[in-house]
Each structure stands twice: as structure tokens, then as C-alpha cells.
């Protein structure tokens, strides 16, 4: 038997992606509940009930909606990579069959990130109409900057999928629940999802401390592209920050992935 020519990497990549999409499609309801229930409940309380009661101004919805989308995007991207990764590398070892596919470990990790980005996009597309429906008309909401919205969404999803790669491979399986509480919960509350970054000028220490939080840039990017009338960071700064964060998490996550993949 003579060696066969190598399978083109592109084909292996597509096959791996199709596998993840097949599984994602099958688990879609669970996935959506897990990643979008929290943002939607938040919309019900802060975007519907409180304005009705008069506790918050009607205009709050314009600041809230982009943040809710950012939060959904972040939660779904990070979880759709990290959680299966923990199980696959942990007790079931089922990632072995993909590690034995004729592709480099780098490409196998990259495919996971791409699958996470796609699932993040699905979550956003799911939450947007529901949130809009619950909140009623949102002042200043526009989809005219569609290109920028897509740019922020894809870069943000990439940053959080890469974070999922890092968390899923660097954290001990027993600790993953705890780590999600310790890392993800503060990230959401201090991620400018519920308030514009500029509003933090009231508390300057916070304003600069939250800049280490990647969610801040997704929230601000969403605000800048979906409700541009509100105060927001410049889009260029947002895109630059997200790109840098994505590269850092990807590089770091790939290293921990390879450490787990090779004994």
C-alpha cells in the first residue's frame, strides 16, 4: 500500500465544521435556552416591566438593547466552545477522533472557534427580534450600518470563542462551573451591557478598570452601530480592541489546547 496524497486541509476543516453544525442543530433548543434565557429575562424586567412602572426612562431601551445583544453574543460564543471542550477533553476523551483527523492541531482548534462564532451569530439573530418585540419601539434603532454591525459581531464572537477555547482547555473540568461564575458573571455586569461606557464617567475608577473587560467593546460596538445616536466608543477603537483581544485569546487558547492535545 503506497501512501495516498494528503487530504486538502480545507476539506478536513469543512467536515469538522459540518460535524459541529450537525450537533449544534440537534441541540439548538437547549443551546438557545442556555445562552439566551438570561438576556431575554433581563429584557423583560428592564426593557418592559420597569419602564411600565416608570422606574426607568423609556429611552433606556436604546442603551439596553445593544448591550443585551452583546451579552447574548458573548455568552453563546464562549459557552459553545468551552463546554463541549471540557467534556471532550475530560471524562469522555471523545475529541480524540478529531485529533486523529488528518489535520494539524491548530486547524482543529481554529474550526472550534469558527463553530463558536457561527453559534454566537445565531444567538444574536434569535435574541434581536424577541427583545425588540418585548421592548416595543426602540428609539434610534437602525440597521443602516449593517457592515459595521457585522464587523463588531464577527470580531466580538471571535474574541469570545477564542476565550472559550482558552477556558475549555485551561480550566479543570471540576472547576468549570465555578470559573464561569467567577469570570463570566462579573464580565457581564461590568461589561457595559446595561449602561453606556460614557455613563461610567460618574465613577472614573470604574470607567478605566472595565477596559480590561472584552465585553465592553462588544457592547459599545453594538451601541455605536445599532443606536449610533447614543454616546459610544469610536467604532475604529472598538474593532481594533476586539481584534487585539481575539489574537491574544487565540494565541493563548491554542497553546493550552495543544498542551491538552499532546501528552
Amino acid at each position: 500500500m503506497s501512501p495516498r496524497p494528503l487530504v486538502p486541509a480545507r476539506r478536513v476543516f469543512v467536515a469538522l465544521l459540518l460535524r459541529d453544525l450537525r450537533v449544534a442543530r440537534r441541540e439548538l433548543p437547549y443551546f438557545l435556552v442556555r445562552t439566551t434565557l438570561q438576556p431575554i429575562l433581563f429584557v423583560v424586567v428592564f426593557g418592559y416591566l420597569l419602564p411600565k412602572m416608570g422606574f426607568v426612562q423609556r429611552g433606556y431601551g436604546s442603551a439596553l438593547l445593544p448591550g443585551i445583544l452583546a451579552m447574548s453574543l458573548a455568552l453563546s460564543s464562549v459557552q459553545s466552545v468551552a463546554l463541549p471542550m471540557v467534556a471532550d477533553f475530560g471524562w469522555t476523551k471523545e475529541i480524540e477522533d478529531r485529533l486523529l483527523a488528518p489535520a494539524s492541531a491548530r486547524m482543529i482548534a481554529f474550526e472550534k472557534v469558527v463553530a463558536g462564532v457561527l453559534q454566537g451569530l445565531i444567538a444574536v439573530l434569535f435574541v434581536l427580534p424577541i427583545a425588540r418585540l418585548i421592548m416595543g419601539p426602540v428609539a434610534g434603532l437602525t440597521l443602516s450600518g449593517f457592515g459595521s454591525v457585522l464587523g463588531v459581531t464577527v470580531l466580538g464572537a471571535t474574541a469570545f470563542s477564542a476565550l472559550g477555547l482558552l477556558m475549555g482547555t485551561a480550566i479543570d473540568p471540576q472547576q468549570i462551573g465555578l470559573m464561569f461564575s467567577v469570570i463570566v458573571a462579573p464580565m457581564i455586569f461590568f461589561g457595559c451591557a446595561y449602561y453606556p461606557w460614557q455613563g461610567l464617567s460618574a465613577v472614573p475608577a470604574f470607567k478605566y478598570a472595565v477596559l480590561v473587560n472584552p465585553l465592553v467593546y462588544v457592547s459599545e460596538g453594538m451601541r455605536g452601530t445599532l443606536t449610533p445616536a447614543l454616546p459610544h466608543m469610536p467604532i475604529v477603537a472598538v474593532l481594533f480592541a476586539l481584534a487585539v483581544i481575539a489574537v491574544i485569546f487565540w494565541t493563548w487558547g491554542l497553546r493550552t489546547f495543544e498542551r491538552r492535545a499532546f501528552g
Binding site: 500500500m1 501512501p3 487530504v7 467536515a15 441541540e27 471523545e94 486523529l100 501528552g263
Partner: protein, 321 residues
């Protein structure tokens, strides 16, 4: 091997070394392993847990990075050309690790897709393999719904789907009931008859003896012996192993045992005296007497006929399991 032509070498390792990180300079799993497995051979790696068998398979299947030395499969280096190696090999892991998010058949279909095999060809091969391995009825079952033995066979089907040159099996019969084990052996014999190179680790002497053309006996990361099962058994100390377990140290008893007629060799390890004898029935009484004369009491006696097991014990002073 006879004849003048050099057979095509399928697997080659040179001074292969693996140290896992750990306390005091790490844990040495492999200490300079040299192996050559010609194409088409059924090759066995035999040894107790911790011998380095799984590490060897791990390195040859690109899943473990060697600390030093070289290894290649079908001419492709495992470190420099891992993708080429992965394309040449099929791997049956120690514990079944099917993709639990997929059905039995999907496991095979996606595996074929990873290897760039056209969908029609994969579907046909999956059908044939499921049939051959007795899984035809379970194709649409979820992986969690099938038994451990069926999962093991699914692993074999998956490993064969892309028609690899070399098949690696890591302790394939651990956890199988005797019936399933016999079925597995039958499948492996067929695969070997088809001309495939097979490398199998096992700590079952019988398995290595029945299936393998050559067996490497490993212990603590080193190769102790490498030959055909028949030649290895011939190297085992002659006669039957009589293991005499005493209440205390056996050194003094062994001195008396060594001079007994018909006793070929006596080894001592703590309270255990291992004697090899041509006619065990005639030697047992003498061994007991030798022990009693040294002031010891005999707690237990066990007999093992000449086998790879007795060879292993004579090489290492320890049992396999």
C-alpha cells in the same frame, strides 16, 4: 524473517524516550526504545501497566510528543509530518471514545468526511463495516444506547473506515467478556490476513501468544525481549514454574532448593521462592522440605506451565498484572 529482500519497514523508532513532567525530574515512561515493524506484521507490545506500551502507541499515533529520539510510520516522521502519519493509521483506543453527540452510523460517516473520502464511498464502507462487525441493526442508535462490546467494535469500524495501512490497538480486549474477546480475535486475524500491519498492546499473555507474529516484551519503559511467541517461550527458563510462598524471607530455603535433582533454577524475591522444574510433581515435596529445613513455613504453592508469563517473570521478577 527469511529471504534476502529487506521487507518494507512500516514502523521504526530509534532511541525513543519520553519523560512526563513530574516530581524529581519527571516520570520516565520510555527509555530509549528501538523498534522495527515490517509492513504486514501483526506485532504485539506486551507488558504490565506502566511498561510504556500506551506511551509508545501514543507517540506512534502522533498524540504524545516524544522527549527525544525518532519515530516514523510508513516513512512519515511522527513529529515533523503528523498529518501524513494520521492519514496512514487507524487507532482503536484503550477505552472507546466514540463521538457521543452522533449516532453509530454518523460516527463512521463523519470520520470518512474528516479523511476526505467521497460521501458515497464512505456510506458504502460504513454499511459493510457495520455488517461485518455485527452492528448493522444499531446504525441509527445513539452511541450511549449500545453496549461496551458494541462500542469497541464501533471503534474498530471507525479505525478501518479510511482503509489505513497500519492499525493500532491499545489493550483492545480489556473490559470485554470472553465471548466478545474471541470475536475480536477473529476480526483481528481477518484484518491481518488482508495484509494490514497491526500493532497491539496487551497485558494478556494469551492474547499476544495467539495473535502476534512477533512480541516485544516491555517493562518500565525498556524493551526486555523481542521475538516470535514460540522463540520467546523457548527462551523461558525450562520447565514449569513452581512458586512457593513462605511466611518469611526465602533466601535460606532457596539454597537448599537449588541442589534438588530436577530443579533447573531458583529465584528469590522476599518471601517468594520461584523454582523451575522439569517434573514439578516430583520436586514439590523437596521444595517444601527445603523450606522447612530453613525454618520456614509454606503458605502457598502455585504452578505455571512454560509460557510468555513465566518468561516475563524470569525477566523481571514480577508478574504481569
Amino acid at each position: 524473517m527469511t529471504g534476502t529482500t529487506t521487507p518494507e519497514v512500516s514502523i521504526r523508532t530509534r532511541v525513543l524516550r519520553k519523560v512526563y513532567p513530574g516530581k524529581a525530574g519527571g516520570i520516565v515512561a520510555l527509555e530509549g526504545l528501538d523498534l522495527d515493524v515490517p509492513a504486514g506484521e501483526f506485532f504485539g507490545l506486551l507488558g504490565p501497566n506502566g511498561a510504556g506500551k500506551t506511551t509508545t502507541i501514543g507517540i506512534l499515533t502522533t498524540r504524545v510528543r516524544p522527549t527525544a529520539g525518532e519515530a516514523s510510520v510508513g516513512g512519515a516522521d511522527v513529529v515533523r509530518e503528523p498529518v501524513a502519519v494520521k492519514q496512514r493509521i487507524g487507532v482503536v483506543p484503550q477505552r472507546p471514545n466514540p463521538d457521543r453527540s452522533l449516532t453509530v452510523r454518523e460516527n463512521l460517516l463523519f470520520h470518512g468526511a474528516y479523511f476526505g473520502i467521497p460521501r458515497k464511498v464512505t456510506a458504502e464502507r460504513a454499511r459493510t463495516l457495520l455488517e461485518t462487525l455485527g452492528l448493522a441493526e444499531r446504525g441509527d442508535a445513539k452511541v450511549d444506547e449500545i453496549s461496551g462490546g458494541q462500542q469497541q467494535r464501533l471503534m474498530i469500524a471507525r479505525a478501518l473506515l479510511h482503509d489505513p495501512q497500519v492499525l493500532f490497538l491499545d489493550e483492545p480486549s480489556v473490559g470485554l467478556d470472553p465471548q466478545a474477546r474471541l470475536e475480536l480475535w477473529e476480526i483481528l486475524r481477518r484484518l491481518h490476513a488482508e495484509g494490514r500491519t497491526i500493532v497491539m498492546t496487551t497485558h494478556y499473555m494469551e492474547e499476544a501468544d495467539r495473535l502476534c507474529e512477533r512480541v516485544a516484551i516491555m517493562d518500565r519503559g525498556r524493551l526486555l525481549a523481542l521475538d516470535s511467541p514460540a522463540a520467546l517461550k523457548a527462551r523461558a527458563p525450562g520447565g514449569t514454574l513452581i512458586e512457593v510462598i513462605l511466611d518469611e524471607d526465602a533466601t535460606a530455603s532457596a539454597a537448599g532448593a537449588r541442589v534438588l535433582p530436577g530443579v533447573l533454577r531458583v529465584d528469590v524475591e522476599g518471601a517468594v521462592m520461584r523454582a523451575y522444574a522439569e517434573r514439578p510433581g516430583e520436586s514439590i515435596a523437596g521444595l517444601i522440605k527445603a523450606a522447612e529445613q530453613a525454618g520456614r513455613r509454606v503458605m502457598h504453592i502455585a504452578l505455571s506451565p512454560p509460557s510468555l508469563e513465566t518468561l516475563f517473570i524470569s525477566l523481571t521478577g514480577r508478574k504481569l498484572d
